[in-house]
């Protein structure tokens, strides 16, 4: 039988420490208002904040509610505010956190329960920018020809996982939820700068709306929040330039 590796031995001497996890709770079936509740959790330095939540749900309070799936930063389920900053709970390690960790739902979307928000307004804004390849006329019998340089032009914005960390960190979005928000612009950018796409004009017109790109105040919150490292503010600026000069 093969012994199973229990801990990443790359880390030096592994010492557990007790972390105080303060969570903003809200159960609409019981609570009139959200309230804070604190849990003590034993954690390894290499544990993710998501492990703390799983530990609380599994062994302390099964009613704690949050979304999670892949647990390594590619599915976008577990965006939340961790010590005041939007992060994916599965990409923050306990070793990088203080002894007290405050966790609450992302802002700007309707709170449903504990750390769960209604994602529908977010996806509605995404769908509004026509986030799909638009082509007209005859298609090639094989693949489209696209140079690697043309492909690289929009590489950064293909990384988006639609976690909403950016949009829900945007102060403009907090006060005006008609604003399409950074994530939708990122996904429009991904097609506007794709050499194969022929929908640039119609997409730019959508973003030229008063609730489109011009609402952006370049606060860079979105760029700092993005767990995929997308240069969102830059992408928004590129869409603004494309609108001003009608040239991509």
């Amino acid at each position: 039988m093969t012994a199973i590796v229990e801990k990443p031995a790359a880390a030096p001497a592994i010492v557990k420490r007790t972390v105080s996890v303060k969570i903003r709770r809200f159960n609409p079936e019981v609570d009139a208002e959200p309230h804070w509740q604190t849990f003590q959790v034993e954690a390894l330095p290499t544990d993710r904040v998501l492990n703390l939540l799983l530990n609380i749900k599994g062994y302390q309070d099964g009613s704690l509610t949050f979304r999670r799936s892949c647990a390594h930063g590619v599915c976008g389920s577990d965006a939340m505010r961790i010590n005041g900053v939007n992060r994916l709970a599965c990409k923050v390690l306990v070793k990088d956190m203080p002894d007290e960790i405050m966790i609450e739902a992302i802002k700007g979307l309707p709170l449903e329960k504990d750390l769960v928000v209604d994602m529908e307004p977010f996806f509605e804004a995404y769908r509004a920018v026509k986030p799909f390849l638009i082509t007209y006329g005859n298609q090639p019998s094989r693949e489209h020809i696209q140079s690697q340089a043309e492909r690289d032009r929009f590489d950064d914005t293909t990384k988006c996982i639609l976690c909403a960390a950016c949009t829900s960190s945007c102060p403009v979005y907090w006060t005006d939820n008609k604003y399409v928000g950074p994530a939708a612009i990122v996904n429009a950018h991904r097609f506007i700068f794709d050499s194969r796409d022929e929908g640039t004009e119609e997409r730019l017109e959508i973003l030229n709306d008063r609730e489109g790109v011009w609402r952006c105040r370049t606060t860079f919150n979105c760029t700092e929040a993005c767990p995929r490292g997308i240069e969102i503010t830059k992408a928004i600026a590129e869409v603004k330039r494309a609108l001003l000069f009608r040239r991509v």
């Binding site: 031995a9 790359a10 993710r48 509610t65 799936s69 892949c70 976008g76 449903e112 504990d114």
Partner: protein, 579 residues
């Protein structure tokens, strides 16, 4: 009692990963289609796939789909149904081109065509040398496939029911008649009448502790089929991916080796030269995973506990790592604090993929026994066993499988729905689900879901992983039987209606326990070693007695009955598997 809602569709698709959405694109353009998913579509685990999707495009060197078929059959240690492998490898070329036309941003060759790279077990001319066959978008090919399919579903206005957990299938007079779902947001029950149902619910990797699988991969689709008394095929064959981050199981793509990465033991030796002299680090996953485990067992593991091996990328140019492997190198930095430019990355096998599942034929129709289909019922992707992967799936063939058989399922289900009427629902079609939910909500038992799940995962890792023996499997079987008894006494603390994930986790654990048992019982009966199933007490492949698929059935009293099904062989006779 929860509120019950009724819906009526031609086709209902359960699951919105790659297979479900590829099916939806076909089905929804032909007939009225609903897609039910327990997540949001973009959260599905297709998005975690990294390395690529193989197709013999021959964009960068000579290749053809027959070689791809041979590699798939040999890679699966001859348990592959060869008619299905031929279909998959032939249709692979169109499947890749289709995705490109839908907008998928593949990496490109200098001529602007889709670029291709090497991948484990994919060879030129029946094993001569590694061939560049995998089409890719950096190391996030699955992410791009999932996004591209979702984008096209948005374009086509496909109707999704997000966070709807399908917990039962309705079968009336032997025909699929619909599905019953629990709505996470409200706790309401939804009965979907349908002329055809497609299962695309993915795998069940969460039976193991060390796994690359998402928390949500709990085998619900297979579990539902099992409880209906329908068979599951080849469940003992589970793939352990060689390169999980040590201790964590997070996947590091085989593309790392396709790009030139090398596995080394504590002595710095490139040990795969001893196990697979021709293609070395690019041998199929079962062989590499066993070789790694063997290095550790024989004391050549690295690290303070000597319990992992090293994936060395330090000789690769940084530009190549940044362009071709950005995500996985980021995983090593984030989760292990290792810088892959300068340090080798600790890796160890991680439970990755179920080769077995719901038996289907090449039309994606679900089989009710060795030969007869269940009319109106289809399955595609990891939930299905068609069987293109046999006893060991080749890297990239899962992304291919979901596209080829997802498409086939969508077309076949829509055509079936267009030519058949509803068979009608039985009275109280929601009964099984309402009973399941109320039993758990009312339970005053003393067992915790998390405790039982952790114990199940622990025994599966210890006793049913890369190396198995009759004794270890017997231990796992006993442990699971005891856990199933304790599961009857499980209770939950959230008794509410809204977003009750506590309740759903309890239900998912029930499916996992059922499937863990089927896996172990099948593995104990298979007294041979083949592909991903390695028995130390029977270390050789035994074609005389075991060149056949396992078909497991749940009897009325809950006991498991094993039957067998012949393998479809067309052009390839079994040979010794050497690389």
């Amino acid at each position: 009692m929860p509120q019950v809602h009724q819906h009526n569709y031609d086709v209902v698709i359960v699951g919105a990963g790659g297979a479900g959405m590829r099916a939806a694109l076909e089905s929804s353009s032909r007939v009225r289609t609903a897609v039910l998913t327990k997540l949001y579509p973009t959260r599905s685990h297709t998005g975690a796939a990294q390395g690529g999707m193989c197709a013999a495009l021959a964009n960068v060197e000579e290749d053809n789909w027959e070689w791809h078929t041979f590699d798939t059959v040999k890679g699966g240690d001859y348990l592959v149904d060869q008619d299905a492998a031929e279909v998959m490898c032939r249709e692979a070329i169109d499947a890749v081109i289709d995705l490109e036309k839908m907008g998928l941003p593949f990496n490109r060759t200098p001529e602007g065509r889709i670029d291709q790279r090497r991948f484990g077990g994919h060879t030129r001319n029946h094993g001569e040398a590694a061939v560049r066959r995998s089409c890719f978008a950096a190391d996030r090919t699955g992410h791009m496939i999932l996004q591209t399919l979702y984008q096209n579903c948005v374009k086509q206005d496909v109707q999704f029911f997000n966070e709807f957990y399908v917990l039962d299938l309705i079968v009336q007079d032997g025909h699929a008649a619909g599905a019953v779902a629990y709505e996470l947001a409200t706790g309401d029950i939804h009965v979907f009448a349908a002329k055809a149902v497609i299962l695309a619910t993915g795998g069940f990797g969460k039976v193991f502790k060390t796994t690359s699988n998402a928390h949500t991969l709990t085998g619900d689709g297979m579990g539902i089929i099992w409880r209906k008394g329908l068979p599951l095929e080849d469940m003992e064959f589970f793939q352990f991916h060689p390169t999980g981050l040590a201790g964590l199981g997070i996947l590091l793509s085989e593309a790392a080796r396709g790009e030139g990465g090398i596995l080394r033991n504590a002595d710095g030796e490139r040990f795969m030269e001893r196990y697979a002299p021709t293609i070395k680090d690019l041998a199929p996953r079962d062989i590499v995973a066993r070789s790694m485990a063997n290095e550790v067992r024989e004391g050549r593991g690295a690290g303070p506990e000597k319990d992992y091996v090293l994936l060395d990328l330090t000789h690769l140019p940084r530009e190549q790592i940044d362009a071709k492997l950005p995500d996985i190198t980021e995983f090593a930095r984030t989760y292990l604090g290792v810088e892959p430019y300068t340090e080798p990355v600790p890796v160890y096998p991680t439970a990755h993929y179920a080769m077995g599942g719901v038996p289907t034929n090449i039309r994606a129709e679900v089989l009710g026994n060795n030969t007869e289909v269940v009319p109106g019922l289809y399955a595609a992707g990891e939930v299905a066993c068609v069987s293109v992967h046999g006893s060991n799936r080749l890297g990239t063939n899962s992304l291919l499988d979901i596209n080829v058989f997802g498409r086939r399922a969508g077309i076949a289900a829509a055509e079936y729905a267009a030519t058949h009427s509803h068979v009608g629902l039985p009275v109280g079609a929601q009964g099984t689900v309402t009973a399941m939910v109320s039993t758990l909500l009312e339970s005053t038992g003393t067992e915790r879901v998390a405790t039982l799940r952790a114990e199940m995962q622990s025994t599966m890792d210890r006793n049913a992983q890369v190396y198995r023996t009759d004794a270890s499997l017997k231990q796992a079987e006993e442990d699971i039987a005891a856990l199933k008894q304790r599961y009857a006494n499980v209770s939950i603390s959230d008794k509410g209606k809204r977003f009750n994930s506590d309740l759903l986790e309890a239900i998912e654990l029930g499916f996992l326990l059922d499937l863990a048992e089927v896996l172990v019982v099948g593995a104990r009966a298979r007294n041979e070693s083949r592909g991903g199933h390695f028995r130390e007490d029977y270390p050789n492949r035994d074609d005389v007695n075991f060149m056949r698929h396992t078909m497991a059935y749940r009897e009325g009293d809950g006991a498991i009955r094993l039957d067998y099904k012949p393998v479809v062989q067309t052009r390839y006779q079994p040979m010794e598997r050497k690389y």
